[in-house]
Structures are given as structure tokens and as C-alpha cells.
């Protein structure tokens, strides 16, 4: 594996019976890159991502994430990545503090490290005042950033974000992307799935999956040039529809 890469995938395939959900996809993601993983509903995004995060075994092909084999070292992969889902998996009836403690415990952090992390997260997100109120009372944007911070509680090199910006408040989305830029600038790799095509334009590079295959992969700028389109939305429509 090239030291500059955070993810390397070669001929990755997943079949369910006769159905090929992911059809021999290959790509690399560099360290510190914001990589957008796009596709229509049912294109195979989620299946592909599950293999990358060690939750599903590939039928064929190989992949390395954070230096570990996704098939043979799935456990190591899970320990070395962060993951945030659409529903941002915070416990609503726990406070921000308790959520940090819980996830810190899950990842086996020491008591001192959890204390340190809690202080750091609450300070950075300006959550000190609500540190002891249940998460359910927080505005969507705060919850989202808290979930993102917690997904990195164990300082992983890569964070997987699975459709993180549901809710689509224009500010909340921008605030969230700023946080992503900030994290990427610190050298962390961001792998993000979304079906908001305008959001694809925030990424350094994007891949577009159509019926199990990666049909396009490049910077948003080059893709727009190649497909003679003004927006990623147009690129997507041209690829998927015709």
C-alpha cells in the first residue's frame, strides 16, 4: 500500500446470490483528502461502504483501509476508523458529556483520556453550557457537530460519513462543511456519501456509482468539464439517466 493513501481498493465485489451489488470497483483515496462517494438510491453505495468499514466481507477483490486488510483484518479496520451515520447515533437521553464517555469507553480509551477528550470536545464546540443537558434538547446543527466530534473520539486517521447532512438547513450544512474542512486540514481523511449533488462540489474528488460500478471519478471541476455541465447535478443526471 502506498504510504500516501488512506484507502486502496482493487476489484472489490459483493454478490448476493445472482445479484451483483458492487461490481469490481477500484480506487484510491489519499491521506487528508475529502472524498465524495456518490450514487443513486440502490447503486450499491451502502454495500460498498459496509465492506470498507469492516461490516461486510467482500465476495472478491481486495481493499486496505488505514493500512489494514478489510477482509482479513476487519477488527483492526474498525478500531482505526471513525464512522458517523445519517441518524448520528447519539443517545438522545444522555448528555453530551455522557455520550463522549460512552463512546470513549466503547473504543477502550483510558479514564484520563476520556476526561481530556470530553474537555476538548465541549470546548471546541462551545457546548460547555449544555454539557449536562440531554442531547435531545440540542439544535440539529449542534447535535451533528457533536456526533462528528464523537466519531473521532479515538483519533482515527479516516472518518466515514454516511449521508451526514440530512435536514438540509442551509446554515447547518455550511457549518458542518466548515468543520469537515477543518478536520481535513489537520490531515484526517474524510470519506463521505451523499445524494445532494451540490454537496459533491465541496469534495476534493468524487466518485459516482451507477448499478454497482464506479462510472466516474475525478475532481468536481474536471467532471463538469468532461460532461460539459455547469453543476454536479447535471453530471450526475447525464451519467445515470443515459
Amino acid at each position: 500500500m502506498d504510504k500516501r493513501n488512506a484507502i486502496e481498493v482493487e476489484g472489490l465485489t459483493k454478490r448476493f446470490g445472482d445479484f451483483t451489488a458492487v461490481d469490481a470497483i477500484s480506487f484510491q483515496v489519499a491521506k487528508g483528502e475529502i472524498f465524495g462517494f456518490l450514487g443513486a438510491n440502490g447503486a450499491g453505495k451502502t454495500t460498498a461502504m459496509k465492506m470498507l468499514i469492516g461490516l461486510s466481507r467482500p465476495t472478491e477483490g481486495m481493499g486496505k483501509v488505514a493500512g489494514f486488510d478489510i477482509d482479513k483484518e476487519a477488527e483492526q479496520v474498525k478500531r482505526n476508523i471513525g464512522y458517523m451515520s445519517q441518524k448520528f447515533s447519539l443517545y438522545d437521553d444522555l448528555t453530551p458529556k455522557e455520550n463522549v464517555r460512552f463512546y470513549g469507553g466503547v473504543y477502550g480509551l483510558s479514564k484520563n483520556r476520556i476526561k481530556e477528550k470530553t474537555r476538548e470536545i465541549l470546548k471546541e464546540l462551545h457546548l460547555e453550557e449544555v454539557a449536562n443537558k440531554p442531547v435531545v434538547a440540542l439544535p440539529l446543527g449542534w447535535k451533528q457537530r457533536l456526533a462528528f466530534a464523537i466519531s473521532m473520539v479515538h483519533d482515527p486517521d479516516i472518518v466515514f460519513l454516511d449521508e451526514p447532512t440530512g435536514g438540509v438547513d442551509p446554515y447547518v450544512r455550511r457549518q458542518f462543511w466548515e468543520t469537515i474542512y477543518q478536520v481535513a486540514e489537520q490531515g484526517r481523511t474524510i470519506f463521505v456519501t451523499t445524494h445532494y449533488m451540490d454537496e459533491a462540489e465541496y469534495c476534493d474528488r468524487v466518485s459516482i456509482m451507477v448499478t454497482g460500478k464506479i462510472e466516474a471519478l475525478d475532481t468536481p471541476e474536471k467532471l463538469k468539464e468532461e460532461y460539459n455541465a455547469n453543476t454536479m447535478d447535471e453530471v450526475f443526471l447525464k451519467l445515470v439517466r443515459y
Binding site: N41, L140, P170
Partner: protein, 307 residues
């Protein structure tokens, strides 16, 4: 005749004000968009107009009937597609459609014309249970069910949320064809890019209407200097711009940063300033405002505005 009229409609849930004195009209055959984020009050407005919820103040009428006194007539004349998928998951496509036709005292055959263009797309799956359809197909079926009794006014609450770009595009093409049949459509969406497909839009936030106009007119009315800046150093550029004296707001906008300034500048002046402080900049150009720029400008942007 106006298909929908609202006069000073307000709604509170306990101490929370969901809608603050909302007034507008929708004409026959008009596609009127309600554009705003989660929690803006869009669904509350839909529930009041479809006679499922009573407002605390104000008056409203739909298809010429008062929402309180004549709610029964309204229910016969409107089609409503709620935000949450509300068809019977354990009935087939065909059974769902025939169920909705029957409760409105009609048949699929009688109004087949109206739903034909949409229904042919899901007809190959008519024996499939609704719960097993893809997102795009569920949405098409829900639209058919909302149309099967030939309503005068159609209420679509976030019909494209969570649906992929292709299905969203097809859905808007269907709405255009319904408009030609003189059906008035009130549609809500959190996607600002869909606003341009409406005849008129209302931008709504925290229960208040920020502005109502045609999307084209809103764009023409936006007079603030707006620049698009392209750089590989988005985060540091944003931080610097927010501290710059000329900045009104600086926000990430896809591969660009959108900057509004208090006074107009030449793009090269901004580029020079950024390069002076050592930020490599690929391009600065004057940007055409989108509905999203307008929305962000009109709504409360404290957190992003300089000073």
C-alpha cells in the same frame, strides 16, 4: 379565482410559535413553492390548509372554501402527499390506488387520464407491495394516489426529500404537466435548487415568511456585490475573509466560497488582498446569486457575518 388564500395565519404549540401571521395567495394552475429548512413551519402550514389542524389566528380558504366552516368540502377537492410515506405498505401498488379511488367515490378508470403519465412508470410493478418499492417509485405511487380523485389543489409536503437526483428531476417534470391541467400546487422543499422550478416561491424560516416572489425576480432584486472565490485552502480563506474589513459574509458554496461585501470591488482587488496575506487563490469572479444566496442573506446570518 385564487386556489388558496391565507390571511394572517398563526399557530402556536404551547409556548413555541410555529407560524407567525402568514399571508399569501396561490392562483389556479400555479406551482407555489414553500422553501425553507427543517423546523421552518412548512408541515404545520400544510396541516392547516388540509384541515387537519386548526390555526390559532387568521383565516384561510382552499378551493373557495373556508378551512374551518367548510372543511368537508375541502377534503373532497384536495390531494395531499404528507412528508412521511403514508400509503399501505402491505397492499400492492394497484390495491393502494384502487383503495384511494374508492374512498373518494370514484374509480381508477374514471380519472386514469390524470395519472396515466405517472402510473405507466410503476405499472410494471403493480402487483408488488408498496413497502417493497424503491424511494422514487413510492413517491410516484403516492402522487398517483393523491391525484386519483381529480383534486383542484394539490399539497405536496417535501415530496423529494431523500430521493435521488434522477427521481427528483422526473418528479418535477410530472408537476409541470399537472400544472398544464390547471391544478394549483403547493409544494414544500428544503432544496433551494428546486425553487427555480416554481412559478412563485415563499422563503420561510422559523415560522416567518422572509420573501415572496418569482424566483427570477428574487435573483434580479439581489443587489449586493457577490463574488465566487476558488482556492484549495478553503478553511484558512474563510477565516481570513471573516476578519477582513470589507466582508459582509463569507460562506462555503461547493467548490467556491461566496463572499458578499459592503461595497463593490473589482475581483482582482479581492484576489490581490488574499494573495498579499499569503493565501494561494485560483480564481475570483463575480457570481450570479442563487436562491440559496438570497435565503442566506435574508435570514439570520449572525454566525457568519463579520463583526
Amino acid at each position: 379565482m385564487a386556489a388558496v388564500v391565507l390571511e394572517n395565519i398563526s399557530k402556536k404549540y404551547g409556548h413555541v410559535t410555529a407560524l407567525k401571521s402568514i399571508s399569501f395567495r396561490i392562483n389556479d394552475g400555479e406551482i407555489f413553492g414553500l422553501i425553507g429548512p427543517d423546523g421552518a413551519g412548512k408541515s404545520t402550514l400544510f396541516r392547516i390548509l388540509t384541515t387537519l389542524l386548526l390555526a390559532n389566528e387568521g383565516r384561510a380558504s382552499v378551493a373557495g372554501h373556508d378551512v374551518i366552516r367548510e372543511y368537508q368540502q375541502i377534503r373532497k377537492k384536495v390531494g395531499y402527499m404528507p412528508g412521511r410515506f403514508s400509503l399501505y405498505q402491505d397492499l400492492s401498488v394497484e390495491e393502494n390506488l384502487s383503495f384511494f379511488a374508492t374512498i373518494f367515490g370514484t374509480t381508477i378508470q374514471e380519472n386514469y387520464d390524470l395519472v396515466k403519465d405517472i402510473y405507466v412508470q410503476i405499472e410494471p410493478f403493480k402487483k408488488r407491495l408498496a413497502g417493497q418499492l424503491s424511494g422514487g417509485m413510492k413517491q410516484k405511487l403516492a402522487l398517483c394516489c393523491a391525484l386519483i380523485h381529480k383534486p383542484e389543489v394539490l399539497f405536496l409536503d417535501e415530496p423529494t426529500t431523500g430521493v435521488d437526483a434522477v427521481s427528483r428531476k422526473e418528479f418535477w417534470e410530472m408537476l409541470q404537466s399537472l400544472k398544464e391541467k390547471n391544478i394549483a400546487i403547493l409544494v414544500s422543499t428544503p432544496y433551494m435548487d428546486e425553487a427555480s422550478l416554481c412559478d412563485r416561491i415563499a422563503l420561510i424560516q422559523n415560522g416567518e415568511i422572509l420573501k415572496i416572489d418569482s424566483p427570477e425576480q428574487m435573483v434580479r432584486d439581489f443587489k449586493k456585490p457577490l463574488y465566487a472565490i476558488k482556492t484549495e485552502h478553503t478553511y484558512s480563506t474563510l477565516n481570513y475573509l471573516r476578519s477582513a474589513s470589507y466582508t459582509r459574509s463569507a460562506l462555503p458554496f461547493g467548490e467556491f466560497i461566496h463572499l458578499t461585501t459592503a461595497k463593490p470591488y473589482k475581483p482582482f482587488q479581492i484576489k490581490d488582498d488574499l494573495e498579499r496575506v499569503g493565501i494561494p487563490i485560483q480564481e475570483v469572479k463575480i457570481a450570479a446569486p442563487s436562491i440559496e444566496d438570497i435565503f442566506l442573506d435574508l435570514s439570520n446570518t449572525d454566525e457568519f457575518i463579520n463583526g
